[in-house]
């Protein structure tokens, strides 16, 4: 509230971003790659937090992403409406080696268009491209870990597949997905949480498209839906956490 003019940069805008997509397409892995630049092969990454935050710097602005992972609640259609509420961005993920996962992604996009903010920015990400690229084993991010532990059912086809074999694993042609994304007005990327390819791009491209002015205006305003996640104090809003709840008395400004 106080420092108005000076802090153009440190006044980062909070953006709630949600992940969606079929189980095992790599949503949690994408988050982990983006937030801590890690990858765990053949293993469900443990997020174990309410949400993760990550700053994203553009030339003229700083965004603070508040990233919500599904916590596995997509598996039995048990994602709650609360999950979508006030999300300003969504990354809908499919697996390029699984055709059905793109269909699932399309239905998530529909769901978002029904449930979420009308001006939400949606990106479609075709993940696991490393599996369909001619032997990119040079990246060597995870060679050692990936050996142990027998695969379970959800795991992906063996990643050691060489050149031509690799391309044959692809079940979703890039063109097809890209055409769909264009038609539906989504940003589009092919990514690999394993190698890191395309991951940062998703988040920076989304950042460029987020209507920051709009968000700032609506947060300052009457706290209508579409304002940032937890209300600072617009319209009599209250922050429950003791530490954050300073200046408790009166002030009905």
């Amino acid at each position: 509230m106080a420092d108005s003019a000076s802090g153009a940069t440190d006044k980062s805008v909070q953006v709630k971003l949600v992940l969606l997509g079929e189980a095992a397409v790599g949503k949690s892995s994408i988050v982990l790659r983006f937030v801590s630049n890690e990858f765990q092969a053949n293993k469900e990454p443990t997020i174990g937090a309410a949400f993760l935050t990550q700053k994203c710097r553009l030339e003229d602005r700083v965004l603070r992403y508040e990233i919500w992972d599904t916590a596995g609640q997509e598996r039995f259609h048990s994602l709650a409406p609360m999950y979508y509420r006030n999300a300003q961005a969504a990354v809908v993920v499919y697996d390029v080696t699984k055709a059905a996962s793109l269909e699932k992604a399309k239905s998530w996009v529909k769901e978002l268009q029904r449930q979420a903010n009308p001006n939400i920015v949606i990106a479609l990400a075709g993940n696991k491209v490393d599996l369909v690229q001619p032997s990119a084993s040079t990246s060597g991010t995870t060679s050692s870990e990936s050996e142990d532990e027998a695969d379970d059912a959800t795991a992906t086809p063996e990643e050691t597949a060489g050149g031509e074999q690799a391309e044959s694993l692809r079940q979703v042609p890039r063109d097809e997905a890209e055409a769909y994304a264009k038609e539906a007005g989504l940003l589009f990327f092919e990514t690999s949480a394993k190698t890191g390819e395309g991951i940062v791009e998703i988040f920076t491209e989304i950042a460029k498209k987020i209507p920051i002015e709009h968000i700032l205006a609506s947060t300052r305003g009457a706290g209508r839906p579409g304002a940032g996640g937890r209300p600072g104090a617009p319209d009599g809003g209250v922050t429950l956490d003791e530490n954050a709840a300073k200046g408790k008395d009166a002030c009905n400004c």
Binding site: V35, S36, I47, G48, A49, A50, F51, L52, T53, Q54, K55, A71, G72, Q73, R75, F76, H77, S78, A80, P81, M82, Y83, R85, R114, Q115, A222, G223, R224, P225, R230, P231, D235, G236, G237, V238, L240, D241, E242, A245, K248, D249, A250, N252
Partner: protein, 563 residues
């Protein structure tokens, strides 16, 4: 996915969801199941289409004896459901709470919200106003704090002094006081009149609008205890002792608890009918049986060492669980019927008020209607109808109309939840709509801007029904196994139907269930690794010390950290 769990929690009501979150956080593996498409059970918040479905399913279930036992139980619980006109468009902009609730700023519920981290997920708003219905288009303000009493220009000095004396008494340590002794079970309103010589007006306001009593016969001690709690709650976040949760309150908060459970590994399964719950004999070397739960559409059953179930799912338990226990015990809880109405409005409500209650002899002559209240509509407020205040209303019980508006994100303009406990337990279900119509009309009269040419508007959507609500018992041992001698199967006890008390009672129930479960599970590690999911090393050996473990703290200074 693992199919064996420490605990299967059935039902996603407030109590079950808090319990599931706490057990998951304590390191137990939890599967959390609900037959509904939504979280929240009887405390859900629904958009208008889902509310419509909710009503239709429950009114139709009685015609279809083959529907699930859960739905049959629901159809017995929710009766006299009024036919719903089709909901207005943009159904999703509305969150209708099936159990409206006020959250006291201190107490077990808010403590759980903060300690679990669920408070980070949603928004809250202070309750703005509590008022008493006065007459068509007018309300009386309720002096809720000592400050209000001091400021009041409309109470006589004597009345002020008496009221202050009572408020000091209620805020203080009254247990064992001479004023209270022998009156603990006496009707609260009589206690106020005789012990504190308060006028009928003031005593009425205290009874129904401060203590949220529902009838003149409500006993003194619980009412006094509530007021004590609320007086001590005000000031933590602002003037009012109460908070209102965004997007329909309890039903939204439930989703937060379910997410907390999922984030630490709990598995949530919605919209699957339960086919059976059976008990298999204790495995070799285990003193306790295993439960086997078959779900529609699941090839393999889920199994667990412990079951915690909402009461409406217990038909499964008593039919299928035990081999030898066919003996059914009498229901441990009494019940009460509550008429409930949901009214969606597209014109805001104003509280043009008269002077606060003044003494009996002091007629309200020339009391002026506040000008501020003429232009500012209320957003979150409670309107109280004490018994006999409405000519066509109940003469024995009080109705509470809970108003939530755009500021609490529940609707573009507003939703009013009216609840009226009914007397007696007649066999034929009363007509919810007929009973509540006078209250609806009285509420809608307040949509007319004071002294303007506006006309009173009509609701854009209404739903009425009677809920047969179980009441919490006073006995300590509320968490009873549905079957004798089964210490690994619990039904969740009922929560208080009182607007200001239900959230707290759910949190208290959850904590009791939590410790019951911890006790039942202690010392018998489930997870021999290799069976089911991988668990962090040594998890089974961790000593559980508190209902909620410490939260990860928020490091919010330099960019790139997670929390």
């Amino acid at each position: 996915m693992a199919s064996h769990y420490d605990v299967i929690v059935i039902g996603t009501g407030l109590t079950e969801s808090i319990t599931a979150a706490a057990l998951s956080k304590a390191g137990f593996t939890v599967a959390h199941i609900d037959e509904n498409l939504y979280y929240g059970g009887d405390e859900a918040s629904l958009d208008l289409d889902d509310l419509d479905q909710w009503a239709k399913k429950r009114s139709a279930a009685s015609d279809k004896p083959l529907s699930s036992p859960y739905l049959q139980a629901q159809a017995e619980k929710f009766v006299s459901i009024s036919a719903v006109a089709s909901p207005p468009p943009h159904s999703r902009q509305y969150s209708v709470s099936l159990l409206p609730s006020l959250i006291p700023s201190t107490g077990p519920f808010i403590a759980s919200l903060i300690a679990s981290g669920v408070s980070r997920y949603g928004g809250y708003k202070l309750l703005e106003r509590v008022a008493i219905y006065h007459s068509a288009g007018l309300v009386k303000n309720v002096p809720g704090s000592k400050e209000d009493v001091f400021k009041s220009k409309d109470l006589s000095l004597v009345e002020k002094r008496r009221l202050m004396r009572f408020l000091l008494f209620a805020a203080g340590d009254f247990a064992g006081s001479k004023e209270l002794q022998g009156h603990e079970d006496a009707p609260f309103i009589d206690f106020l009149r005789t012990t504190f010589s308060l006028s009928m007006d003031v005593a009425t306001a205290i009874t129904y609008a401060l203590a949220f009593c529902s009838a003149a016969s409500d006993p003194t001690l619980p009412a006094l205890t509530r007021i004590h709690h609320y007086l001590r709650s005000s000031g933590r976040y602002g003037n009012s002792p109460f908070l209102v949760g965004h997007y329909g309150g309890a039903g939204e908060i439930v989703q937060g608890f379910c997410r907390v459970s999922a984030v630490v590994g709990g598995v949530c399964i919605l919209a699957r009918n339960i086919l059976s719950i059976k008990q298999s004999p204790p495995p070799e070397g285990h003193p306790q049986p295993t439960y086997v739960v078959e779900l529609e559409g699941f090839d393999e059953p889920l199994t667990s060492r412990l079951i915690i179930s909402a009461p409406d799912y217990t038909p499964f338990l008593s039919n299928g669980t035990s081999q030898d226990n066919t003996h059914s015990s009498p229901p441990p809880f009494s019940s009460r019927r509550v008429a409930r109405g949901v009214i969606v409005i597209d014109h805001p409500i104003y509280f043009p008020f008269l002077a606060p209650p003044s003494s009996d002899s002091d007629p309200i002559v020339g009391a002026s209607v506040s000008t501020e209240s003429m232009i500012t509509p209320v957003d979150t407020a409670v309107l109280v109808f004490p018994p006999s205040f409405l000519p066509d209303g109940s003469s024995t019980t009080a109705a509470h109309a809970f108003i939530t508006g755009a500021g609490s994100m529940s609707a573009p303009v507003g939703i009013v939840n009216i609840s009226l406990p009914l007397d007696g337990a007649g066999s034929s279900p009363p007509d919810a709509k007929a009973i509540l119509t006078p209250y609806v009309n009285a509420t809608m009269a307040l949509t007319k801007r004071p002294s303007s040419g506006d006309v009173v508007s009509d609701p854009i959507f209404t739903l009425f029904y009677i809920q047969n609500q179980l009441l919490p018992s006073n006995s300590e041992n509320e968490v009873t196994p549905p079957l004798p001698d089964l210490e690994t199967c619990f039904t969740t006890p009922p929560i208080s139907p009182t607007l200001s008390e239900c959230a707290d009672s759910a949190a208290m129930n959850a904590e009791k269930l939590f410790w019951k479960a911890v006790n039942a599970l202690k010392g018998h590690p489930t997870h021999t690794p290799g069976q089911g999911e991988e668990i962090p090393e040594g998890q089974d050996l961790v000593e559980i010390e508190s209902f909620w473990p410490p939260l990860e703290t928020i490091v919010d200074d330099e960019g790139d950290e997670s929390w």
